[in-house]
């Protein structure tokens, strides 16, 4: 196996990830992929965006290169840099360049967290040029047809510092993710954690109550992810109230009165 094939292999999603479709997001994604239009996943934290990407990568049989963006992420972190090996300098691709060469799906998670100048390097890749200029080597990488760029973005932040620029967002097909409907979310929680249907139903009920508090004490309600965490604790024998306190209530806020109210809500359900 040559090195590139080997590299591609390590990014492949080998077995089918568990993903419950919420609407027609899979079809839309496939259509965008077929038309080589990059995709923007919008949605609150923990609602299944990453899981969906894994699922789609598996379904399309493409390697998936994921980059979690943070505010120190520079353009060279994405594109690549020189390293010293022995007495020689060697160019090493960053994940974005690697993904372009591999014809992979490149998923930039939480793009707004990255430095502003970083988002600019993806612009030529995200329009119909589909190229990645590598400034340091003078190379211009041309994306093969299999390549796809995907970003995720949480519009729930109202921060003026974290708005996605129009020139960036208008290059993408946007898929909107929300929390799954109650019945579906129950099924996900039960399936991911092994708790029984009744417990899953109660966890989803707690989640609904916390989501009611969005904007009234909470910046964001409990995500599916938090329910999965709580469910896992319960499945291991932790009493439900304690599991919810640790996995749902505490992660949501530090504000004493909101904490107290959340504890009361959990105690109403369990």
């Amino acid at each position: 196996m040559d090195t590139r094939a080997h590299e591609a292999d390590q990014y492949l999603v080998k077995s089918e990830p568990y993903y419950e479709p919420v609407a027609d997001e899979a079809r839309l994604f496939e259509a965008a992929y077929a038309s080589r239009v990059p995709v923007l996943l919008k949605g609150p934290t923990g609602c299944g965006k990453t899981r969906f990407m894994e699922f789609m990568a598996w379904r399309l049989g493409r390697p998936l290169v994921t980059v979690s963006c943070h505010d120190d992420l520079t353009a060279s972190d994405l594109v690549g840099r020189y390293l010293i090996v022995g007495a020689e300098t060697v160019w090493v691709d960053g994940p974005l360049a690697a993904a372009v060469r591999l014809g992979a799906i490149c998923y930039l998670d939480e793009i707004v967290e990255a430095r502003k100048d970083t988002t600019v390097v993806i612009h030529p890749l995200a329009d119909d040029r589909r190229i990645l200029p590598v400034e340091k080597t003078g190379e211009v990488l041309r994306a093969p047809p299999e390549f796809l760029l995907a970003l995720s973005y949480n519009p729930g932040y109202q921060s003026v510092l974290k708005e996605l620029k129009q020139s960036t967002r208008q290059r993408f097909v946007a898929l909107e993710f929300g929390y799954p409907a109650a019945a579906l979310e129950q099924r996900i929680v039960a399936r991911e954690t092994g708790v029984d249907a009744a417990t899953a139903e109660r966890l989803v009920r707690v989640a609904g109550m916390t989501r009611n508090l969005k904007g009234n004490g909470l910046d964001e309600g409990a995500s599916t992810r938090l329910l999965v965490h709580a469910g896992k604790l319960i499945a291991l024998g932790v009493p439900p109230r304690a599991a919810c306190a640790a996995a749902i209530v505490q992660p949501l806020t530090d504000e004493p009165e909101t904490l107290a109210a959340l504890h009361e809500l959990v105690a109403s359900v369990f």
Binding site: Y157, N212, F270
Partner: protein
């Protein structure tokens, strides 16, 4: 001055006396000395001594006299009440001082034994003030909408506000007393949720020989019926309720109420049971029964329906106008501007989905329209066609009316004043050089206001500071530095290449961590119009104190200005804090001095502030306005639509200039015109003034986090 003993050692008499003299100077005389206070205080443990000195310092800023009396009585108070109790005793006396007189405050301090008795009872009580916020959030979580919580004589609800008693002292443990509160709140919510008020309760009890007693029984029966409903959806809560169902029911009542526990039991069953019951005895006195006042519920419901109908029609008018502007090409006459709605069939527990059509074409309803429709559906079960007729009487109507009346000439610029255009929506043009704005300083107020706010909100401020610290910007790596804590590999590699090529090794080969600067400039614009008088003004000032404390941690550049004025020729901007001014005594004094003035000509203030913000070097510019509702000015027609449109236009201008406007409005009735006026800006509505102090800081955190 002698050195201050370590924090564990008791303060000796000499030091105590010096300190007290310093603090109480203003009221000391030969007959009234600091020395007289010393014996009592010297015997206290150090933490208590610190406690007394701390509070003497605070009280003395309002009244040295009161501080002296406090110091004299403090040893006994501490012995009787402990620190927490003594603090409550003192704070009560200070409140009396603020509200009434020195004489009354002094009497309050002296009546220590009365206070001690009350304090004792209080120790176990769950109190409304302490519980209200948690209960309000609890209800919001249950109901998915905001139910107000207020104190009242007895527990009941009008379906918008839940009234709860001032305190619950039934049990020896406070936690159990709180449980009673929680049970009452939940039951009040359940009354609305499970349609207690869908039957004509007033008629049902009026036939009885003793209507008051019949009403009490109906309330009890509803507690039984709703408790059973909660078993299914909120088992934890139902368990709590069961624990409070004392006294136990005797066999006759038990069998009489059995039908109410059936899953499908509705209010009709309750009334049937009520008719069959023997009403000669009072109902069992369960502690959490929520009373019924059907007449008040009807009034509130009728008012809400009316309000929401108007609000919906207003929103739809705005939507129609917006759509017309977007598609102006089509012939005006062909479109009647008629809305229609298609509703999904009702299903248990779920909201009905609504599709909205304008002249047959589907349109996306704005968020506020969608929530209004849902709320109307909850009340009426349907959406009558006239609710979909845009605008209507009493609502904000977007048609061109007369502009400002009176003199028409542009104003002359004069020294120290700035002149601004104003948007005249009727003409669809600016009125040139229309407003004159002068800047002045806020006259400093009583700094004790700030101190008191700092005291009152001490824990909250500490918490705010912590959350703001988290925003402060992470460490960031600076590359190609001459010194640093790591090697910059990119630079080193390039350097090696230089060396290989026979050049010199460059000096800048390191990376250094550096705290990133948040390049933000924020302007807070505070409403100082006459209508803020009282609570709102207090809340605004407290909000600024909390905000400044929190921003101090963050280091963002900010300025605070107030605005008011009277007529277009006398608009005023009051400086509280300039961008380059530190948050110190002068600023605190000016915050305290923010006082209600005249009117609210908001547009010109926003324009001026926009200009000032643009002069600031910053990557992100933020404008936060704090106001209590509609723009308004004296006499010249700014009130109403003209002012709303001008404010809207000024916000557009700010946005176009690259500023992020954000509006915080304290107003309950503001709903109908706000979305329109704030078109370009994001906004929040604060419907409880008491929350304002926290909300301003938390909005800021969200905006810039």
């Amino acid at each position: 001055m002698s050195s201050w003993p370590r924090s564990s050692e008791r303060l000796p008499a000499g030091l105590l006396e010096d300190r007290l003299e310093e603090l109480l100077e203003a009221c000391l005389s030969s007959r009234r000395t600091a020395a007289a206070l010393v014996p009592g205080l010297a015997a206290l443990a150090r933490p208590q001594q610190d406690f007394v000195l701390h509070w003497v310092g605070i009280v003395a800023r309002s009244s040295a006299e009161l501080a002296y009396q406090f110091a004299a009585a403090a040893p006994r108070a501490l012995a009787l009440l402990g620190e927490r109790g003594a603090e409550a005793w003192l704070v009560e006396a200070m409140d009396v001082f603020d509200r009434e007189s020195m004489y009354a405050a002094s009497a309050a301090l002296k009546d220590l034994s009365r206070f001690a008795r009350a304090w004792d009872a209080q120790a176990h009580a769950a109190r409304f003030e302490d519980s209200a916020r948690v209960l309000e959030l609890f209800l919001c979580g249950l109901a998915g909408r905001r139910l107000r919580v207020d104190a009242g004589e007895e527990p009941w609800t009008d379906t918008e506000t839940v009234y709860l008693p001032r305190e619950v002292t039934l049990f020896a443990a406070r936690s159990r007393n709180f449980l009673v509160y929680k049970a009452m709140a939940a039951l009040a919510w359940a009354q609305a949720r499970f349609d207690t008020f869908s039957a004509d309760l007033a008629a049902a009890v009026s036939g009885s020989a003793d209507p008051a007693r019949a009403r009490a029984w109906a309330a009890f029966l509803e507690a039984v019926r709703l408790g059973a409903k909660l078993e299914r959806i909120l088992p934890g809560l139902a368990r709590d309720l069961r624990a409070l169902q004392r006294p136990a029911l005797d066999a006759t009542i038990r069998s009489a109420v059995a039908p109410l526990a059936r899953p499908d039991a509705a209010i009709g069953e309750t009334l049937a049971v009520l008719r069959a019951l023997d009403l000669s005895r009072p109902p069992p006195a369960w502690p959490y029964v929520v009373r019924l006042h059907p007449g008040r519920v009807q009034e509130v419901r009728a008012a809400r329906i009316e309000r929401e109908r108007n609000a919906l029609r207003t929103v739809l008018a705005g939507l129609r106008d917006e759509l017309r502007r977007e598609r102006p090409a089509e012939a005006e006459g062909e479109r009647a501007g008629r809305f229609e709605a298609r509703l999904s069939d009702p299903t248990e527990g779920a909201e009905r989905s609504v599709e909205l059509f304008l002249d047959g074409a589907v349109v996306a309803p704005p968020v506020d329209a969608a929530s209004l429709i849902q709320s109307i559906l909850q009340d009426l079960g349907e959406l009558p066609p006239e609710y979909l007729e845009p605008a209507g009487a009493g609502a904000y109507v977007s048609h061109a009316g007369p502009g400002p009346a009176g003199d028409d000439e542009a104003v002359q610029a004069e020294a120290g004043a700035a002149v601004y255009d104003e948007w005249d929506y009727a003409r669809r043009h600016y009125r040139r050089a229309w407003c004159v704005l002068r800047s002045r300083d806020v006259h400093p107020g009583d700094a004790a206001f700030v101190w008191r706010a700092l005291e009152r909100y001490r824990p909250q401020i500490a918490r705010l500071k912590r959350t703001f610290e988290a925003l402060r910007g992470e460490d960031r790596l600076h590359r190609r530095e001459p010194h640093g804590d790591g090697i910059d590999l990119d630079a080193a590699v390039a350097g090696l290449a230089d060396v290989a090529a026979g050049r010199e090794l460059p000096a800048r080969l390191f990376v250094r961590r550096h705290r990133t600067e948040r390049s933000i400039a924020v302007m807070f614009l505070v409403d100082m119009s006459g209508s803020t008088k009282g609570w709102i003004n207090d809340a605004e000032r407290e909000a600024l104190v909390l905000l400044c404390e929190a921003l101090d941690v963050l280091g963002d550049r900010y300025a605070i200005y107030g605005f008011s004025g009277m007529t277009r020729k006398r608009c005023e901007l009051y400086r509280v804090k300039r961008f380059d001014e530190p948050y110190g005594a002068a600023v605190k004094g000016r915050i305290a001095g923010i006082a209600p003035q005249d009117y609210t000509r908001m547009g010109v203030a926003i324009r001026h502030i926009t200009r000032m913000l643009l002069a600031e070097e910053a990557r992100t510019r933020l404008l936060v306005t704090l106001s209590d509702g509609k723009p308004d000015d004296f006499g010249d027609g700014y009130r109403g639509e003209y002012g709303i449109e001008d404010t809207r236009q000024a916000l557009f201008e700010a946005r176009r200039a690259g500023i992020h406007p954000f509006c915080i409005t304290i107003d309950e009735q503001a709903r109908d015109y706000l979305p329109h006026m704030y078109g370009a800006a994001n906004y929040v509505l604060v419907n409880d003034v008491r929350r304002l102090p926290f909300q301003v800081a938390s909005v800021y955190r969200r905006l810039t986090g």
